[in-house]
């Protein structure tokens, strides 16, 4: 039995309009892991995330944070949201204040921290994301990518143990996406558990250590990235694709250029090493 920071067992959520978004979904997030939640549009990723943060309340099923069933009492919700931070896909939903400083301090102040403490935390986060120069800028002047970083900073300032990010790199330019991933790498190294949703299979394959595929409000499969991506047919069935790295590795393996399993090639660097090794041999 692993150490699960959050666990969903058979949760169902139906929107007031009658649409069933989650239909008996299971998900386990191990402490210290990097989990990618994959799935087609409308497969329930965002609804799941809103449930994991206590914003939507599943009509049935069980949700446990740190092994304890959740409670929706105000005090417990606050503690839950301090532990589990969520970054929305649309930064405009999350960036509430007019200046960056005010916005990042919003969460810490809601936790009841003093003004000085909130200001200090905001300064720390700005420093660690290397966006100190944003400090006094009005939020409406920031670009979409910059606003996304501010949204992430606002969540990190609450010092969560688990951060859930809904499509953190969508709509952000390549340099911005890289910056977001670097930030995630940094906080993961500091011990934060991460869950992201994405349509970018290449990024998910290189970045995550676990993956879950959602289809129609249920978990199609969850496991180590290499296992989940191994089944091509399953991927296609979920309206997803194999990452290019895996495809190339498979091709090289079929031609006998690479002898190790295709799944061992998890990064571009590794691929190049293998190719160089194959040439020498």
């Amino acid at each position: 039995m692993g150490d699960y920071i959050i666990e969903a067992k058979g949760i169902c959520y139906r929107y007031p309009c009658g649409k069933d978004a989650l239909m008996g979904l299971d998900l386990r997030v191990e402490r210290g892991s990097k989990l990618a939640v994959l799935g087609a549009n409308g497969s329930g990723k965002t609804t799941l995330f809103l449930c994991l943060n206590g914003i939507l309340r599943p009509q049935s099923g069980a949700l446990c944070v740190q092994g304890r069933p959740v409670s929706y009492a105000r005090r417990d919700l606050l503690e839950w949201r301090r532990r589990v931070g969520m970054v929305f896909q649309e930064p405009d939903d999350q960036v509430v204040a007019g200046t960056v400083m005010q916005d990042i301090a919003f969460g810490p102040l809601n936790l009841g921290l003093s003004h000085e403490e909130a200001r200090m935390r905001a300064t720390d986060v700005l420093h660690s994301l290397q966006i100190e120069h944003f400090r006094d800028r009005p939020t409406h002047e920031l670009s979409h990518g910059e606003r996304k970083l501010v949204a992430i900073a606002g969540v990190l300032a609450m010092r969560p143990e688990l951060v859930i990010l809904d499509e953190p790199t969508a709509g952000v330019d390549p340099a911005g996406a890289e910056q977001v991933l670097e930030v995630l790498e940094t906080i993961h190294r500091q011990g934060t558990t991460l869950v992201i949703s994405t349509h970018d299979m290449d990024m998910a394959y290189e970045w995550a250590d676990g993956a879950a595929i959602l289809v129609g409000g249920q978990t199609w499969c969850q496991g180590p990235v290499t296992d989940v991506f191994a089944d091509r047919a399953a991927l296609r069935g979920a309206r997803l694709q194999s990452p290019w790295l895996l495809e190339v590795a498979r091709g090289l393996q079929a031609k006998g250029i690479v002898t190790d399993g295709a799944q061992t090639i998890r990064s571009r660097g590794r691929l190049l090493e293998m190719l160089a090794g194959a040439r020498e041999a």
Partner: protein, 251 residues
């Protein structure tokens, strides 16, 4: 809107404490209403000089901002000059020359008062008001609404611009008829967008532990005593000069 906001963040006095600027503008606004016409004109001169020379707002921007209320003020003052009478020969519209003094006084006061507000708008970022208002114990509902409105204003402007461009790209404004139709569509879509955004923001704020009221960080600086004293001095000087000029003019 964008123009005012832009200068509020870039003028030389952006970082001065809002209480200093509010005292300056508020005091002179009161004086422009209390003092006779000459006093209002002195207020207008002082505020204009301070906005242009002190805060270094470009004259073009200042005049453009002042021009907006000026239109309404002009219409209001001119209407005082018209006299309408219903006689045996029907409706008679004439110029009420006896109202000239009243109209000028109204014009002078209103322009001076508007210039004080323009000074505030152009020198003080709207968000600086929030900590100040919270400090002054303004009911939290009002401060919360200001907080959210200011943020959403820009979200909506962005959306409005995007929709306008999209309509333009499909010839939405090619004729009067299509202009009406496009504008109607924009209005309807903006309403739906606003409701959706409100729901999204509600969730976004909930995810960040939003409680009974929106927390606002206090300003890091304090109003300077010297500046406050100088502001009071300016009030007195303006009042004295205003009254003296009026006496000289009358006598």
């Amino acid at each position: 809107m964008h123009l005012i906001d832009c200068y509020a963040y870039t003028n030389r006095w952006q970082t001065r404490h809002p209480a200093e600027k509010a005292a300056f503008a508020g005091g002179l606004l009161a004086l422009s209403l209390i003092l006779p016409l000459a006093g209002s004109l002195v207020v207008l001169a002082v505020v204009s000089a301070v906005t242009l020379g002190g805060a270094r707002v470009p004259p073009r921007v200042y005049l453009r901002t002042l021009a907006i209320p000026l239109v309404f003020i002009a219409v209001g003052s001119l209407s005082l000059l018209l006299s309408v009478s219903f006689g045996a020969q029907g409706v008679h519209v004439g110029l009420a020359t006896d109202q000239m003094a009243r109209a000028t006084r109204l014009l002078g006061r209103a322009v001076a008062a508007a210039s004080c507000l323009c000074f505030l708008g152009l020198t003080t970022p709207a968000l600086d008001w929030l900590p100040l208002l919270r400090r002054l114990r303004v009911p939290s509902v009002i401060v919360d609404i200001m907080f959210v409105v200011y943020r959403l204003l820009f979200v909506f402007i962005e959306r409005l611009a995007a929709m306008h461009t999209a309509h333009e790209a499909r010839l939405g404004y090619a004729s009067v008829r299509s202009t009406f139709r496009s504008s109607g569509l924009i209005g309807a879509n903006l309403l739906v967008f606003a409701l959706k955004r409100a729901r999204g923001m509600e969730m976004g704020m909930a995810a960040r532990g939003f409680g009974p009221e929106i927390p606002v960080l206090p300003l890091e600086c304090k109003p300077s005593r010297a500046v406050m004293a100088a502001v009071v001095l300016v009030w007195l000087v303006v009042a004295v000069i205003g009254l003296a000029v009026q006496r000289w003019f009358d006598g």
